[in-house]
């Protein structure tokens, strides 16, 4: 938890400010996807974001997994928020999140064995993904269930969108393909293997974050004024 704070406080004072006052669904939705995008602005949960993005397909599945887990856990945490003793809320949150992660993992294993194999431990690692825990702690604990679900959906979508962007470019530049279909013909394009390997992931996310900050930069200063 403290980890999440350390990482997020510097970059975003906004969720705490906007969280309670944005009592409307649309505002929450917009915030999650753009204003406080968990990956690009708050830089949370990057571990899994980088590992699974060497192909579009796995990126999308991971995005779907995170949407499912944030929506589910936000709903449940919010429903139980008045019954959970404050002191044990962390462990309760972890248990709820882990339950949803196990559900998704079992689902993948049952119906999409290949994908489950490719994602490896990273589905399980959603448990320690700071986004899920962060939303449960910062939003679901103070807000009614439906709004919490919207918030979970928004943050999940924001995460999934960035994942899809990174996955798209890495697969395209790394193999010349998208969804396994050749787009850049190898007659004139030599696939840059580096993009599929670890360094490519770091470069790509760094670039996406830089882009987001560059676009968003002036707006943040307005907020401060």
């Amino acid at each position: 938890m403290a980890d999440k704070n350390a990482a997020s406080c510097a970059t975003c004072a906004s969720p705490k400010k906007k969280g309670p006052c944005g009592g409307k669904g649309m505002l929450t939705l917009k915030d999650g996807v753009w204003g406080i995008n968990p990956l690009a602005i708050q830089v949370l949960g990057i571990c899994s974001a980088l590992a699974v993005t060497n192909r579009v397909e796995t990126s999308l599945v991971m995005g779907a997994a995170l949407i499912f887990v944030t929506v589910g856990s936000n709903l449940l945490v919010s429903l139980l928020r008045n019954y959970t003793p404050h002191r044990i809320r962390m462990i309760a949150e972890v248990a709820i999140i882990a339950t949803f992660v196990i559900l998704f993992d079992q689902f993948l294993k049952a119906f999409y064995w290949d994908l489950s194999k490719q994602l490896g431990p990273y589905v399980g690692l959603i448990i320690t993904n700071c986004i899920v825990m962060g939303r449960a702690e910062a939003f679901a604990l103070q807000n009614p269930p439906i709004l919490s679900m919207v918030d979970g959906l928004a943050n999940g979508l924001g995460y999934a969108a960035i994942l899809a962007i990174i996955g798209f470019w890495r697969e395209l530049l790394g193999t010349g393909k998208v969804f396994g279909l050749t787009v850049l013909s190898d007659h004139w394009y030599a696939p840059n293997q580096l993009m599929v390997l670890a360094p490519g992931a770091f470069f790509m996310l760094g670039a996406v974050i830089a882009l987001f900050n560059a676009i968003r930069g002036p707006q943040e200063e307005e907020d401060k004024k």
């Binding site: 999440k4 590992a51 972890v94 993992d105 399980g124 448990i127 320690t128 825990m133 760094g206 930069g217």
Partner: protein, 200 residues
């Protein structure tokens, strides 16, 4: 497999976890603290040491729990929640023990211990251990190697960032952006180790 061969395999796994398959730079585990807490060498050192210790110990504990509790009961899917509980409990106990027996060490490491529960490198290492079916001895090598690899990476990053503190960086890139790009360059350098070990 006899013990000698296992120890040898453990050694190979350990070395490869430090260099060629670095848990941070090749598997992206433990990135959040890597980016958040790598501004100073001193804090990076403390956190790195704590990770080595906790990672090695919890991987061993989780191996025992998985082999002797979950597998006989057929509850393998339950491992996510059991592992995270074991890790959280272990960190808590370690903190209490250190505080009681070594105030000096507590001063050095105390702040970092709670941070570690949510470090995905710890849980990730345990999950990899299950997926790859390591034996107990190999698991020790794996834990030690991954922890050391993480330590090495965060120390290197802290060193670079301390130098970078007074440089002028384009605005969008400041903070996480430039850190990730440096991490990419480091990962590139670590790929250079690949030739050291043939076949993992």
């Amino acid at each position: 497999m006899n013990v000698g061969a296992e120890i040898q395999q453990a050694f190979v796994v350990c070395i490869s976890a430090v260099f060629t398959q670095n848990i941070l730079l090749a598997y992206f585990l433990g990135l959040c603290p890597f980016i958040g807490v790598s501004r100073e060498i001193k804090t990076a050192f403390g956190l790195g040491l704590a990770v080595i210790f906790v990672l090695t110990a919890t991987v061993m504990l989780n191996w025992l729990a998985y082999r002797y509790v979950l597998e006989p009961l057929g509850l393998e899917f339950f491992r996510f929640i059991l592992f995270i509980i074991i890790i959280a409990a272990f960190v808590q106990f370690t903190e209490m023990a250190i505080e009681r027996f070594s105030p000096f060490l507590y001063q050095k490491l105390g702040v970092f211990l709670p941070l570690i529960t949510v470090n995905c490198a710890i849980l990730g290492a345990s999950l990899f251990m299950v997926i790859r079916n390591y034996s107990f001895i190999v698991t020790i090598g794996w834990g030690l190697g991954s922890g050391t690899g993480w330590f090495l990476a965060i120390m290197a990053m802290a060193g670079i960032r301390q130098r970078l503190a007074h440089e002028r960086i384009p605005r969008g890139l400041q903070g996480p952006g430039i850190t990730l790009i440096i991490a990419g360059l480091m990962a590139l350098a670590f790929i250079g180790f690949t030739g050291v070990l043939q076949g993992r």
